[in-house]
């Protein structure tokens, strides 16, 4: 069926492209245009054009504060997800096949439960009289009970719970492509378990880790539900600020400018990260080639 008619693929792709153009590109363009309008609480959206909304935001200390908070939360979440999710995927991978399926189901299954429900679970756990504080008090931890709800810690905990299955899944997928012979060869040459993980497994699953890291960072930086439910009204992040401007303050142009900045920030992070990963991969390839020429490095 290859290339017999140039029209067929165009016809096949047409329905999806029409839907995307109408319901995605057009609305996104609309947001960009909306962000260039002024706003008045009595007259509504003003007809003139300008960059005032962006100027206002970039000089607003409240915005700077929530932008920093957004980045801080996203970075912590990403780091913890990697530290916990990568070993977990490796542990499940090494289990007996009949356990693997069940464990994967438990770890990844919560992805199919609504974020609202999962956050509510953390609200119950992290409240001042919640289970977590009860356990800490019984254990005699000094200072307990703590104020856990409506803190950045609560938001990070909630986000890690939402995101860590994605890292496990992403690493799991690249472990599936790992040749088990490599591992056995390393063991037979006397490598310890840790060495095998560090020198054989880790480099091979690096693409999965990198992809997972990017996904978690972008999703945490743009998350709305978890910061809103576990962070409360005072701990604003960029997405909850946007929500507020649109549905409470009703200053749509300012909200549109916020949305545009959020999207630009996320796209920039993606581009930088992809570029970084690519150069890293190229350097690794170079190293491997050199190692091959130079023989043993020891």
């Amino acid at each position: 069926m290859n290339g017999r008619s140039n029209l067929t693929p165009a016809l096949l792709a047409a329905p999806s492209l029409v839907v995307y153009a109408g319901a995605l590109l057009l609305p996104l363009g609309g947001v960009l245009l909306l962000s260039l309008h002024g706003f008045d609480f009595e007259k509504g959206i003003l007809p003139g054009w300008g960059l005032e909304n962006y100027r206002d935001l970039l000089t607003d200390s409240l915005f700077a504060e929530s932008l920093l908070r957004t980045l801080r939360i996203a970075l912590w979440t990403t780091a913890i997800c990697l530290l916990v999710g990568v070993p977990e995927a490796w542990i499940i991978y090494r289990m007996a096949p009949r356990w693997r399926g069940a464990m994967l189901l438990i770890v990844v299954g919560p992805l199919l439960v609504s974020v609202v429900v999962r956050n509510f679970g953390w609200m119950v756990l992290l409240g001042t009289t919640g289970l977590m504080n009860q356990v800490l008090t019984i254990l005699g931890v000094p200072g307990a009970p703590f104020r856990l709800m409506f803190t950045e810690l609560a938001v990070v905990i909630g986000l890690v719970h939402v995101m860590v299955p994605l890292v496990v899944l992403s690493v799991w997928a690249s472990l599936g492509r790992l040749d088990p012979v490599l591992e056995r060869a390393a063991f037979s040459l006397g490598a310890s378990r840790l060495t095998v993980f560090r020198r054989v497994v880790l480099p091979n699953v690096m693409p999965g880790i990198m992809a997972g890291a990017l996904m978690v960072f972008c999703l945490s930086a743009s998350a709305f539900a978890t910061p809103a439910m576990l962070g409360g009204k005072r701990l604003k992040v960029v997405s909850s600020m946007t929500y507020n401007e649109f549905l409470n303050t009703l200053n749509w142009p300012l909200g549109a400018a916020l949305a545009t900045l959020l999207m630009v920030a996320i796209l920039t992070a993606t581009l930088i990260w992809t570029r970084f990963v690519e150069t890293r991969a190229m350097r690794r390839l170079g190293e491997v080639a050199e190692g091959g020429k130079g023989g043993s490095r020891a």
């Binding site: 329905p15 609305p27 609309g30 090494r94 007996a96 189901l105 609504s114 429900v117 953390w122």
Partner: protein, 266 residues
């Protein structure tokens, strides 16, 4: 197969506790007889499970979300299957761009998508309608659909299709009798994942929902914003148990890692 050491198993146990704790705690607290979120329980009661039946708004939202998910997933399949075919079977200029555009909703923050669609639909007086929510959900779920249908297609040997053609089958017949049955598991997996994603979607829906078009996650979110009584727990517990049931049945014929990544189990 190498085994995990005791340290690895301890780590694994802690990890499972972390993952399951918020879900189990919700199920536990839903059986309280008190008027507040009491833990540990002093006695089991079905008071708040019965309360679900007395609160029509949660039931209405449940049926609404069901209808929304089924409609959006089906429409998404209708546009994604042809697109996946074009991407898998043809090499044409702009193919890379097509792939990137169709996957792009994954990179766009849902708040931005919500804002954009609210502005767009309110321009036609359509915000808060079933149609606006369906359109929004189709955009959100189509990348997942494409991934699974695409994975199904890439596992399909094109020679089978060519064999059918060489035996005189028309293109439509080849698609209907050969390609479609072979990619059916991929399409079914994509449909299920798309449906679940739509059923759980909160952020985009928040912007478009109205009292007459109120999906369950939005209803629950707004309710929790006002108060947290054990009714939230029983509704949430029902959702958790329902999802678990679907998962267990599904896992019999469609492993979850394949459902979520499109790849075969290692």
């Amino acid at each position: 197969m190498s085994r995990n050491g005791p340290l690895a198993l301890a780590f694994h146990a802690l990890f499972l506790t972390f993952i399951l704790a918020p879900l189990l705690v919700v199920i536990g607290v839903s059986f309280t007889g008190e008027g507040y979120l009491a833990l540990p329980l002093n006695g089991l009661s079905l008071r708040w499970w019965r309360a679900i039946g007395d609160n029509p708004r949660f039931l209405e939202s449940f049926w609404f979300s069901l209808r929304l998910g089924v409609t959006a997933a089906t429409l998404s399949a209708l546009i994604a299957v042809p697109a996946a075919l074009a991407i898998a079977r043809w090499r044409f200029p702009g193919r890379g761009a097509l792939v990137a555009i169709l996957a792009s909703p994954l990179m766009i923050p849902h708040v931005v998508l919500g804002v954009a669609l609210l502005r767009f639909f309110s321009g036609f007086g359509l915000s808060g309608s079933f149609a606006s929510l369906v359109t929004a959900h189709v955009i959100v779920i189509t990348p997942y659909m494409l991934r699974l249908v695409g994975a199904g297609l890439s596992g399909l040997d094109p020679r089978i299709e060519r064999a059918a053609e060489s035996l005189g089958a028309s293109r439509l017949t080849v698609f209907r009798r050969v390609t479609l049955p072979l990619i059916a598991p991929g399409v079914a997996g994509g449909w299920i994942l798309a449906f679940v994603t739509s059923f759980d979607e909160l952020t985009v829906s928040l912007f478009l929902a109205s009292p007459s078009a109120n999906p369950l996650p939005v209803q629950l979110f707004n309710y929790i914003d006002q108060m947290t009584d054990p009714l939230v727990a029983s509704v949430s517990a029902a959702l958790i148990l329902g999802t678990a049931l679907v998962l267990l049945v599904l896992d019999r014929f469609y492993p979850i890692d394949r459902l979520l990544t499109g790849e075969r189990r290692a």
